[in-house]
């Protein structure tokens, strides 16, 4: 996937600057000889590297060691070529270049890294049985959530399916309250009542467990936007598996008839649970499945591609033209959920290939470093901060107490005076509070 991108590069803290003209720096390598460990990994192009006995990677060209960089040295913004988007019923598509500011780049990097680390931590906690039930992880797909948010604002609306932790974050949730919800504690974003698939924030309607049901819900939100005369729109996400749901076609029809301001987004990660797209869909061109709805097929591993496409789609909606459909081609590293190792229906080689060639975080990092938009140390610093945030959140999520039993029957009805709820036996009288 992708042209104009660097060949296999590694995600690690000890990569030197990749631009041949740049000052290079000696960086201590944590592992003795990473290149020996994996002969397939090539040293970054443009730099001749050799190993010292101390395990340090040093560039032959490095005669100057730069010990600190001021932020004034960094490029404030750069324009990148992005992959062309496939169009359906559209004369023009989003632009072929995207301008990224240093500030946005750092923000996207941090957010994607936070999602990545949060999901990996959830994996750990699940294996320790501190998280239970359903847990559908989003690592690999970070560019979708972050790119989409980059193309809309928090006053727009968004709804998605069950692979929702990343969106809960981009829509204003904190790692702390997300993790505490996963561990079922009282400070969880839904007070422990919802769990992995039922997290809500302002203008974010979950987190929905029934495949496809969120799509008409999203159209209803869009209807409200139009009805109330706001400039807002609703982004309604679904996967390649859900794309065959009848209710989605019902929604395409009504959204088009009534010109609802909705962006349908199909996150095509190639697999609906264990069924590959070719085995599930007669047509895998999900961006065309809206038929009379204009569509775009976008590289979902490139946060800038996603952002530009989302901006384009948002403009389309806000100009009153009605719905538009985006297919984001993406990939999930984990299986469908924590109970799926994810290798019975796809090969480890495939997963590894995507990880090494198309990782969204690496792609952004490479772009920023090779254009002097950030330093390695700076990004490392962000990594450290993110790691700390996740650790603290995990610690909190493990130690926060579970919800009180008094809360068991609450939140049945809104704005109602307290009433009695039957317990497991006729003598168990519980109370429900609004």
């Amino acid at each position: 996937m992708g042209s104009g991108r660097l060949p296999k590069t590694i995600v690690c803290e000890h990569r030197t600057s990749l631009h041949p003209q740049m000052h290079v720096k000696t960086i201590p390598c944590k592992e003795k000889n990473i290149y020996e460990q994996d002969p397939d990994i090539l040293p970054p192009s443009g730099a001749h590297l050799r190993w010292t006995e101390g395990g340090q990677v040093v560039s032959e060209a490095a005669s100057v060691v730069v010990s600190s960089r001021s932020y004034a040295d960094f490029t404030p913004e750069a324009t990148f070529d992005i992959k062309k988007v496939d169009l359906h019923r559209l004369e023009e598509g989003p632009p072929l270049t995207s301008t990224l500011t240093r500030e946005d780049g750092l923000k996207y990097y941090r957010t994607m890294q936070t999602i990545r680390r949060m999901e990996l931590k959830a994996d750990q906690l699940y294996k320790q049985k501190i998280i239970r039930g359903f847990c559908h992880l989003y690592d690999g797909q970070e560019a979708c959530a972050v790119g989409i948010e980059g193309g809309i604002t928090l006053s727009d609306h968004l709804i998605t399916a069950y692979r929702a932790h990343g969106y809960t974050l981009t829509r204003g949730g904190t790692v702390r309250e997300i993790m505490a919800e996963l561990t079922g504690r009282r400070e969880g974003i839904a007070k422990g009542k919802g769990g992995s698939m039922h997290m809500y924030t302002k203008n974010f309607y979950g987190g929905n467990g029934i495949v496809g049901a969120q799509v008409p819900l999203g159209a209803g939100v869009a209807l409200a936007c139009k009805y109330l005369g706001t400039d807002q729109l609703c982004v309604s996400l679904y996967g390649d598996g859900a794309a065959n749901q009848g209710q989605i076609f019902e929604t395409y029809n009504m959204a088009s008839l009534w010109k609802l301001p909705i962006i349908f987004i199909c996150e095509n990660n190639q697999y609906g649970m264990g069924t590959s797209v070719e085995r599930a869909s007669a047509s895998t061109e999900y961006y065309k499945r809206g038929d009379f709805i204009p569509g775009l097929r976008v590289d979902g591993m490139d946060v800038l591609c996603v952002r530009e496409a989302t901006k384009f789609a948002a403009d389309h909606c806000r100009s009153g033209k009605g719905p538009i459909l985006m297919e984001l081609q993406t990939y999930r590293y984990h299986g469908h959920s924590m109970s799926d190792p994810g290798v019975s229906y796809r090969t480890r080689e495939e997963i590894q290939e995507v990880r090494s060639k198309s990782d969204p975080i690496s792609m952004l990092k490479d772009r920023m470093l090779s254009n002097n938009m950030a330093s390695v140390e700076e990004l490392k610093e962000i990594d450290i901060e993110v790691r700390k945030e996740i650790e603290d959140a995990a610690q909190f999520a493990t130690t926060d107490p579970e919800p009180p039993l008094d809360d068991l029957c609450s939140h049945i009805y809104a704005n109602e005076k307290s009433f009695e709820v039957r317990g497991a036996t006729p003598w168990t009288k519980l109370t429900s509070h609004s």
Binding site: Y205, A213, P216
Partner: protein, 350 residues
């Protein structure tokens, strides 16, 4: 002269009002309730099949589209799952939709949206996301519409926490409960009855007031009695009253309780009645197994009223079969007045 004129005017108004409001059929009661609520709150809107230009499949929404237009009275394609989901989503985002199912049989296409998207959301979000929606439409048996169009869904929806389920009998119920349902911040399943639409009932001036609401979750004793309690909902309430009239001639005084609400069930009113009369017969149009009557009997058994029963509580229900078409068969598939009378006499050992 002025005072004479105002005297005449006053009496004329009373006369006019008396004639105009004296008899209102259930259809018009529903229509007026929706009209008034649409006027009262701009966020209220109606969507469903044929609700706008057709004036409603059963004419319940007659005149509303002419008055309020396309924005607030929306004709949908025949896609229940889709438009029910859209209605729920609109409720999420702050509107107050009335989602009509042409009959509740078609709600099965959309039942996931009613239960999983509407009913459970307030709980799953720990009180963050409200769903102020009304789903309404005719429920239960009609006349000659056969098996797929005759099911009663009171028990199915009444089963689910998070929903309010309401089943009006007469015009007063229809008006007051629909207004209450629209004003309620929770998802309400509103079970009408097609056979009742054309039946006129008296409505007092108080009932015609635009803020007349009947509290959801409260049953009404339609007829006081001493020997036996008849508990019912919807059309069967009328049958119970007819049966009570016949039985009164034989000296049996039935207390008739109109449930009005299926969930939350007003057990207190039923218990108080049973503790007074000592006998209970439930009457419903739906199937017996796992039905409304079954729930009432179980609750009576588990509560204080059991000790006051002089005989086991008994249910009168629809026959446990899909609804047949031929008139003679259909007539024998639903509870009739004679079935109620027979059951009362059995329970009272007459």
């Amino acid at each position: 002269m002025a005072s004479l004129r105002s005297f005449l005017q006053c009496n004329f108004d009373i006369l006019r009002k008396t004639f105009v409001i004296l008899f209102v059929n259930v259809r018009d009661a529903l229509n007026q309730a929706m009209d008034e609520e649409l006027e009262r709150d701009e966020r209220v809107f109606l969507l469903g099949e044929e609700v706008a230009q057709y004036d409603g499949a059963y004419k319940v929404s007659r005149g509303l589209w002419k008055k309020y237009g396309d924005k607030r009275i929306i004709d949908t394609p025949i896609t229940e799952m889709g438009f029910a989901g859209i209605a729920v989503g609109a409720a999420f985002a702050g509107l107050r939709p009335i989602c009509e199912f042409m009959t509740w049989n078609f709600s099965m296409q959309a039942i996931d949206q009613v239960i999983n998207s509407a009913a459970k959301t307030y709980y799953m979000s720990a009180g963050f996301q409200t769903v102020p929606i009304v789903f309404r439409g005719p429920n239960g048996s009609s006349a000659g519409v056969a098996a797929q169009h005759s099911q009663c869904f009171a028990a199915w929806y009444g089963h689910c926490p998070g929903l309010k389920v309401v089943s009006p009998w007469n015009s007063e119920d229809a008006r007051g409960l629909l207004k209450a349902a629209i004003r309620d911040d929770n998802p309400v399943v509103f079970l009408e009855n097609e056979m009742m639409y054309g039946v006129p009932f008296e409505l007092s001036e108080e009932m015609m007031h635009k803020d007349f609401v009947i509290p959801i979750g409260k049953a009404k004793v339609e007829r006081q009695g001493t020997h036996i309690t008849l508990v019912s909902h919807s059309r069967c309430v009328g049958f119970c009253l007819d049966a009570a009239a016949v039985l009164a001639k034989e000296g049996v005084e039935c207390e008739v309780v109109n449930l009005r609400t299926i969930r939350p069930l007003d057990v207190d009113t039923i218990e108080a009645s049973v503790m007074k009369t000592g006998n209970l017969v439930t009457v419903e149009g739906g199937w017996p197994q796992y039905g409304v009557g079954a729930e009432i009997c179980a609750r009576i058994m588990e509560g204080p009223a059991f000790n006051y029963l002089d005989a086991p509580a008994v249910r009168v229900t629809g026959v446990d079969i899909p609804m047949p078409y031929a008139k003679i068969l259909e007539d024998h598939s639903v509870p009739q007045i004679k079935d109620i009378i027979f059951s009362v006499k059995k329970v009272l050992n007459m």
